[in-house]
Amino acid sequence: MKKLFKYIFPYKYATIMALSLTGFELVVELIQPVLMAKIIDEGITNGDMFPVYLWGGILLLLSFIAFVAGIVNSFYSSHVGQGVGYDLRRDLFDKIQQFAFKDFQEIPTSSLITRLTNDVTQIQNFLFMSLRIALRAPLFILGGMIMAFTVNVKLATILLISVPLLMVIVLTLIRKGVTLFQLVQKKLDRVNSIIQENLVGIRLIKAFTRGTHEQGRFEKVNKLLREDNKKALQIMEMTMPILMFGMNVAMVIILWFGSLQLDIGGAQAGEIVAVLNYGTKIMFAFTVFSFVMMNYSRAQASSGRLVEILEQETDAEQLRTPSKGKKIGGRVEFHHVSFHYPQALKRTLDDISFTAEVGQSIGILGETGSGKTSLFQLIPRLFEATEGHITIDDEDITKYEKEELRKQIGMVPQEAHLFTGTVKENIGWGKENATFDEIIEAAKKAEIHEFIMTLPHQYETMVGQRGVNLSGGQKQRLSIARAIVRQPRILLLDDSTSALDAKTEANILTSIKDQACTTFIIAQKISSVLKADQILLLEEGRLVAKGTHEQLLKESDSYRRIYKSQMQKEMEQLA
């Protein structure tokens, strides 16, 4: 919680305003009984209406001012509460955007979502409440104790013993509550994650008629959430009965002790009554306090989860000599590059070396799981090589600023992810301020323009999770257009034409060739990389052959085997 304290700082004036207004309301509230007493004592009892009108008028005036103060306070308090909430969400999201991929493996998406919404809400609620009522409780408790002491020290000592004792009990419960609420939030993560999974896989679940199975899975987690919630809330709700009982017993003791003192002259009857009155006030303050504390423990549990994100160490940008704004040519060189994923047992890539000249096209072939995609991810520095180094235009890639580097790379991943938005926006993603003409141009090159024109609103048609139904191939082509529009110096196509028919694929590959950028193509079919200047053949993370199609046919057994397997089939078909 302390670590989130700095978030109040930008709102210090509003906070001070809110607290002072609360203070002012408190003062008016304390004056009210005095005024009422005056009205009754001076006015009603004496049968004199003038004091009734006078003090009554003042009372009304004051309460109206307090009302206005209260209204203004509402604005300030929610300004602080919502402002802090906004800033927290902003910083969290900013931070998450800086996450490296491995961080996502540590905190899964579903949990990040819970934290950004639910956890922040907990903190907001607590803050709003603190500004408006939390201050009262401790002030009342403290004030009540001091007043009791001025009345009778001996009797007040009983309060002095019992109040801290009860505080300790409350604090113990709160500490327990914090741990329990943390468990609740974790269960909420699980619930979130199952829902997300089910939404993503809804077709599959329907196809395999596994609805009931998934419901069972969900029910289990839901049950755990229910139990943890119960446990946490029930513990926290214990504070109130305990506090009330404790204070009530303390008052009985005061009365008993008071009666003894009365006998020996250590206290007067009026003093006993007064101390008892303060005891009652303290007790009411305590009940408010326990309510605030419940919210505190929730907020405390959530704040830990937020701090975890905010303090996550993200990849420090290794900027030695940042070559800002430098246009890259596109010569890519791998020097004995090896790579393994964090926590992985073995190397995914093992001692890879090759050179891709500017404008060349490089085909990458290899069995499923041989490391093709991993190799791709090293180029835009989504992951860093664990050994060896990669250079672009003869300069180590770690010397490029990531953003600058990525700006000049167009990558089309295996799975075409589209965002909710129009077709135009989705293609325009590739390049900031891309003109509509550029977007259309890219769509044409990706062979998707004609299809777009058949859509109900053409380029303004919504796609993504809330958009129209697109086939796998259509998504792939949109995602290729997104890469082309940025006019990259290096283009990475990760098996991105798998859902396309041969004709479309051929057309796209030809228009890419015109882009004159260095192109890397991962493919399954030799036909897709036949014209490549260089073909790299990967096997279990090692580069087993490189060269042109003709060279490889001559030199590599593995390559010949693949080629034969594919050709044979093609030929059979024609026969």
């Binding site: 509230e29 009754i40 009603i44 009892t45 009304l60 009302f67 209260g70 509402s74 929610s78 919502q82 906004y86 902003r90 999201f93 955007q97 998406t109 979502i113 950004l116 919404t117 619930v191 979130n192 089910n198 993503v200 896989g201 809804i202 077709r203 599959l204 329907k206 196809a207 839901n222 229910r226 029930q234 709700e237 009330m244 009982f245 009530n248 008993w256 009857a269 006993i272 994923y341 290899g366 499923t368 799981g369 093709k372 995609t373 989504l382 992810h417 965002f419 993603w429 999770q465 796998g472 191939g473 259509q474 798998s498 041969a502 479309t504 399954q524 036909s527 397997s565 089939k569 078909q573």
Partner: protein, 589 residues
């Protein structure tokens, strides 16, 4: 949708609340115990201080010590009972509340599985997730305390008003004059909070949707260095949420202030008019003084009640969003005469089938073809030709708008969805994996399968070797997004899953697109064994994988333009022959 909701709000609210409470049907007995405890604790909270007062009088009067100690002992007992009643009412209420929340969540989740695929097409995952978490959280928060508070406050109010009436009906009426003003004020406030609570839950859902979508596409965001852009977009959603939150909270904050002021006004009225009456001699001073105390006692629970009402509004805003989904139209009920089938033979006939996802835009038109049991049908055509749609219709993810699909001579609409799908093994375009072990992911195909059968299926799909290389073999836990294994490997797992299901009908939608050709050949060999005796539908772009199909259906623009065997179609020298040639050429060049 939003505008029309404002009018019948009061009615909706009551209905929604009753509906939420309806989930506690089984807990009715416990709920009445809670109410009993609330009454008990209220009574004890009156008796305790009263006895304490008596004891104080005793001390002052200095009467008999024994009676005094006995009294003190009695007081402690009463307080103990009060705390016990408090404890039980809270404890049980939380149990009931969480039970309600549990059931609502379960029902909502169950509902998701009964909705048609088309429902999911226009919605963001994160937005739906928000209904199950954030909206339910609102309900939960309110249920935990609201019922108890409402009952306690109502009891206090009724008691106080009764006492007031007994003392002086006239002054009571005077005190109650503020009630209409109060209601008017409350109505003014809650009309606004109600609206903003709804707005708040909606924007929260929106934001949740945005976060989910962005984070699941994080790779693209990074790759295209669009962090700044998404941060900007997020700021917009964040701002909208702040705005509605801000007003909801600000207006909520007005309630206690208003009540406090009215409380003082009522005091002023009582003493002002009471004073005049006293001078006239119609009420005594004592009554006025007692009355002022009661009027304070009367407004305090009213204040609580007003706050609770506000909390309830926020719960209703959440509950309504939950019920909105619960009330969605389900995947059409299987028709009354629909029968459940045991084992499919596998004869499929498409008879002039037409379908469109959105009105106006026809995806399929007049599609007709026939597959005998055990045959392999290949669907070929450019992207967007409607190949996947044909399969979706076959599995009844959607129902055709025109024409009929006959399965074993029966209209597919007359077969229950579940029994039909149980007969079909799917390998879909996107290989979806669940956050679970490799073993469980394969077993998804047939839950009752033994470990040996799972391994057997993995071997047939050529997945066994790579699985054994994973850190924990079959017990390796896969991330939801399949991180750690490649796309092709995910396809292998999907195939193993379908193999395990041992279906009568097999559907392979681009099942091997991301698998290298050598592995693919091995799989096809395995699949060929599997395809024997089963009707199989194959969608593939690599035409060599489908040349042995019994029937090739060529689709273009949602229509069948050619159909026949590989040989026949080559002879026809049409679109298909053209496609094959393009691939050939590329291969030969």
């Amino acid at each position: 949708m939003h505008k029309s909701e404002t009018k019948p709000k009061a009615k909706n609210m009551k209905g929604t609340l009753l509906r939420v409470l309806g989930y506690a049907n089984k807990e009715k007995a416990l709920l009445s115990w809670v109410l009993f405890m609330v009454i008990a604790s209220s009574v004890f909270s009156l008796i305790g201080p009263y006895l304490l007062g008596v004891a104080v009088d005793d001390v002052i009067a200095g009467t008999n010590k024994e009676r005094f100690l006995l009294l003190l002992f009695g007081i402690i007992i009463v307080f103990l009972l009060q705390s016990a009643a408090l404890f039980f009412q809270n404890n049980w209420m939380i149990g009931i509340a969480q039970e309600i929340v549990f059931r609502m969540r379960n029902q909502l989740f169950k509902k998701l599985h009964m909705l048609p695929i088309s429902f999911f097409q226009k919605r963001q995952h994160g937005e739906l997730m928000s209904r199950l978490t954030n909206d339910m959280e609102n309900v939960s928060r309110t249920l935990n305390s609201a019922i108890i508070q409402v009952v306690t406050s109502t009891l206090t109010i009724v008691g106080t008003v009764a006492m007031m009436l007994w003392l002086s009906p006239l002054l009571t009426v005077l005190t109650l004059t503020i009630v209409p003003v109060m209601f008017a004020g409350l109505k003014w406030i809650t009309n606004r909070t109600g609206k903003f609570f709804k707005e708040q839950q909606k924007t929260l859902g929106d934001m949740n949707g945005f976060i989910e979508e962005t984070l699941s596409g994080q790779k693209i965001v990074k790759m295209y260095s669009q962090e700044r852009k998404v941060i900007e977009q997020f700021a917009e959603k964040n701002g909208a949420l702040k705005e509605s939150n801000y007003w909801a909270q600000t207006y909520s904050g007005f309630i206690p202030k208003l009540m406090n002021m009215l409380n003082n006004v009522s005091f002023a009225i009582i003493v002002g008019i009471g004073g005049i009456l006293e001078i006239k001699g119609s009420v005594s001073i004592g009554v006025i003084v007692t009355f002022t105390t009661y009027s304070r006692q009367f407004t305090r629970p009213l204040n609580d009640l007003a706050n609770q009402f506000n909390m309830i509004l926020s719960a209703v805003a959440g509950a309504e969003r939950v019920f909105q989904i619960v009330d969605e139209k389900e995947e059409q009920e299987d028709e009354g005469k629909a029968v459940s089938i045991d084992r499919l033979h596998g004869e499929i006939v498409f008879d002039q089938v037409g379908f469109s996802y959105d009105e106006g835009l026809a995806t399929l038109r007049g599609v007709s073809f026939q597959a005998r049991a055990g045959e392999t049908v290949a669907l070929v055509g450019p992207t967007g030709a409607g190949k996947t749609t044909v399969i979706s219709l076959l599995a009844r993810f959607y129902d055709s708008n025109q024409g009929t699909i006959w399965i074993d001579g029966r209209d597919s609409k007359e077969i229950t969805r579940d029994s039909l799908r149980k007969q079909i093994g799917f390998v879909l375009q996107d290989s979806i994996l669940f956050e679970s072990t490799v073993r469980e992911n394969i077993r998804f195909g047939r839950l009752a399968a033994t470990d040996e059968e799972v391994i057997q299926a993995a071997k047939e799909a050529n997945a066994h070797d790579f699985i054994m290389k994973l850190p924990n073999g079959y017990d390796t836990v896969l991330n939801g997004d399949g991180a750690g294994i490649s796309h092709g490997q995910r396809q292998l797992l999907s195939i193993a899953r379908a193999l395990l299901a041992d279906p009568a009908l097999l559907i392979l939608d681009e099942a091997t697109s991301s698998i290298d050709t050598i592995t693919e050949m091995k799989i096809i060999e395995a699949l060929e064994g599997l395809m024997k005796g089963r009707t199989t539908f194959v969608i593939a772009h690599r035409l060599n994988t489908i040349q042995n199909a019994d029937l090739i259906v060529v689709l273009k623009g949602g229509q069948v333009i050619e159909k026949g065997s590989n040989k026949e179609l080559l002879k026809q020298n049409g679109f298909y022959a053209d496609l094959v040639r393009t691939q050939q050429q590329k291969a030969i060049m």
